[in-house]
């Protein structure tokens, strides 16, 4: 029995049962009847169905898959005229942004109490981003002043985990003396080192040509899914003495921090921790001369926020 016969006979069976179905409505549920009436299902359907089966497929119904595929593709050859105006199938170079308030905290110690912030954010695509970083502290006591730093950088992805950043930094110190500020050129590297160390390091050249550098590293250790311990280390070094800003040449200071945060959700995480800053070398001497503390242990509490 040829395939053609099978197809025609199965079609005929289908047709007959269609007719049977349509005429013998008593066997059909009432809701279906309603729908049939609504859609004016009548004989023309059957006829047009027949048209489809005979006119378009002719003799070649599924006898040969490749023939069928060719049939399916038959009108592909005509080119699309307006193709240039089509949208892109996907938009994969959109601009995103990120803002992390890493520290927004109260720092209490024997000598002074500070309010401190450390915020960074970016806006950009996969490879190029504009970074904004700011950190600083303000003393709670009157006239004790404070200091603030802001960096505006251009970052470029140079390795899968590393962003090269260049830009400007501006520092300002407030206090009993005159407010004073200085600007720097910055070249830095930020990324994720093996063993999941989050590294942010940079070289700074001040407007007066003084050279300094900073190295920051921190890690996230999950106690539970929501309780996260964040140890942090920072070291600052300078090539020249800048007495006006209390900076000696060599290693300036070492900072160690340990914060334990509780992630209410990814966006909000209050934390408690400890922080220790030790001034060393020439910087330590300068501070002692000014009567400032050189060994500062504080207890911190604040909130970390991701936007």
């Amino acid at each position: 029995m040829s395939l053609k016969t099978i197809i025609y006979s199965s079609f005929l069976t289908g047709l007959l049962s269609c007719i049977n179905f349509l005429t013998d409505v008593s066997t059909v549920k009432s809701e279906i009847i309603q729908n049939l009436e609504k859609f004016k299902l009548n004989e023309t359907i059957i006829n047009s169905n027949q048209d489809i089966f005979t006119q378009d497929f002719g003799e070649n119904i599924v006898t040969n898959e490749s023939l069928n595929q060719e049939f399916a593709q038959q009108d592909d050859e005509t080119p699309n005229k307006d193709e240039e105006n089509w949208p892109s199938p996907i938009e994969d170079d959109e601009i995103f942004w990120f803002l992390l308030v890493d520290q927004l905290e109260y720092r209490g110690s024997d000598s002074k109490d500070f309010f401190r912030w450390d915020i960074e954010g970016w806006v950009g695509g996969d490879y190029e981003r504009i970074w904004l970083k700011t950190e600083g502290e303000v003393a709670f006591a009157k006239d004790d002043g404070g200091e603030a730093e802001i960096q505006l950088l251009y970052g470029y992805l140079i390795a899968p985990f590393w962003d090269l950043q260049v830009g400007l930094r501006y520092d300002r110190i407030y206090g009993s003396e005159d407010d004073r500020g200085r600007a720097f050129a910055v070249i830095g590297l930020e990324g994720l080192a093996p063993d999941l160390y989050e590294v942010d390091t940079a070289l700074f050249i001040s407007e007066n040509g003084d050279l300094s550098a900073r190295f920051q590293v921190e890690q996230e250790l999950l106690i539970t899914q929501k309780l996260i311990l964040q140890p942090r280390f920072e070291i600052n070094v300078a090539a020249q003495k800048v007495e006006n800003f209390g900076i000696g040449s060599g290693v300036n200071d070492i900072e160690l921090g340990l914060r334990l945060r509780y992630e209410i959700n990814r966006n909000y995480a209050p934390y408690l921790g400890i922080n220790w800053i030790r001034l060393v070398g020439e910087t330590e001497n300068l501070a002692r001369k000014d009567g400032e503390s050189v060994d500062n242990f504080s207890v911190v509490g604040g909130i970390r926020m991701l936007f």
């Binding site: 199965s10 069976t13 004016k40 089966f53 996969d126 994720l192 106690i223 991701l306």
Partner: protein
Amino acid sequence: MPNFLHRRNFLRFTTGLGLVVGLDYFSPAYAKQIKSIKADQTQLKYPEIIDLIIQETGVKIGEQNATGITVNNSIPAPLIRLKEGQIAKINVTNKLDEDTSIHWHGIILPVKMDGVPGVSFAGIKPGQTFTYEFPIIQSGTYWYHGHSGLQEQRGHFGPIIIDPIESDPFQYDKDYVVMLSDWTFEDPYDVLKNLKKMSSYYNNQKRTVENLSEDSMWRQMRMDPTDIADITGATYTYLINGLVPETNWTAIFKPGEKVRLRFINGSAMTFFDVRIPGLKMTVVQADGQNIQPVIVDEFRMGTAETYDIIVEPKNEQAYTIFAETMDRSGYARGTLAISQGMTAPIPKLRERPVRSMKDMGMNHDMSGMNNNLHMNHDMSGMNSNSTMNHDMSGMNSNSTMNHDMFNDEAVPNISNDFGVRNAGVPMMVQSRLNEPGIGLENTGTRVLVYSDLRNIAPGYDQRKPDREIELHLTGNMERYMWSFNGKKYSEEKEIAFYKGERLRLTFINQTMMEHPIHLHGMWMELDNGAGQYKPRKHTIIVKPAEKLSVEINVDVSGKWPLHCHLLYHMKVGMFRTVAIMDHPVEAG
């Protein structure tokens, strides 16, 4: 629309979802009637014209109100049931305030009907009606979904059943569509933003300090062994036919009946592991194509894959249809029962798996560096003599080995210069087709593997491939960048296939995640050791550090997308256009 009223619309008897595509038949997802149906196919009417209206509609997901992108006011979209040999004519009206589209997933059709904006047509503008018209030259279970932006995540997907001209090579009494999906109450664009800010945003199953020493290798490589799914139960609710687990979608059977379940993974980002405790499942179709039946206890579905199974429950009881996510952060659940309202125990979620050295593409010479427990299993997998014996005999009995290039050996991964777009290159790549996949290795039950799949009949084209193309799946999880060959779509748009050629396309997964790769317009015949009986698939899971090949008959023209079917991976660049070119004249 003056001719809107004159258009003939036809009732179709539908299965599974119990939905009717019609002019103004509105059915909210939560109120869906679930009918048991497998009518005699000769009694089914197939629509000449189908009208679909895409719009934003208030829907109820479980107890919560939300706004979804619906087709004829329903999530999932209504079932489209067609007959092989007919011409499908589908009017799609866009009532959104943005462009939309429908792609007919797995359907072989003319290029202009494929429904991908920017590749096959301009898209459907707001207020516009686009008429899809194409002949149906295949049968089986398929699906359709939006191919614009992230609309698919918001509910723009639905099932397709195409009844064959000749009867199925297996018997069943009833059939149901079981369409799995993932729903988030967040705006999908916010989800993407969160991933861009922090790629592990939705991973709430990370390892803690407890495993610190065990994970030293992973930390060294800056990889997360718990990175199983980008988006998880932290934001997703998993649905069966639009219903939450508590609503318990139920399929009715009579004891002794053969019930065909047409599983469709219509999710945006989720791999499901499906089982029905107490029942063996006979897999009869994969991606709409009849296969030589395989009896299993469980099978994994990558995003966009479909599997048709037949179960034969003998007892008067309820059985849970359990679709656990690959990362074990949630599940979709339904019930197979003799009457509505019955329930069966819901299995506990298994423990979330962790990535193994093998996912990292580590050679076993490296094993001294990290002796975690998972190593043992993986080692046996890598040596693979014991596990392969069975499959080898199967292959020999087809006596088609000489046709085959299928190779299970691990080979050094020599291509590792994808720059900043690829982090963590595996050292070794190999076929993993005989592995069930992460988390299913030691279940003690029979789990479907890709090397089980054998087409029911030999493929009609048994030419040896003329040409081989390698395509590397690449990504940088840290920045949530995904690409092919280290380049996202906007950086490299096209791959050339030659018209008429038999092409061997080899995927090499350089990443630590599974990617379901989908090719439009042509079948991919998976080179899994089945010789002439290579299974034909529209979507293929490529496991981490896996190298696998498919053969493609390039019998079409035009341009066709090839992409990762994880919606957000596609969105950020894991996408290519396949341009069908004339074969270049060979020099000399």
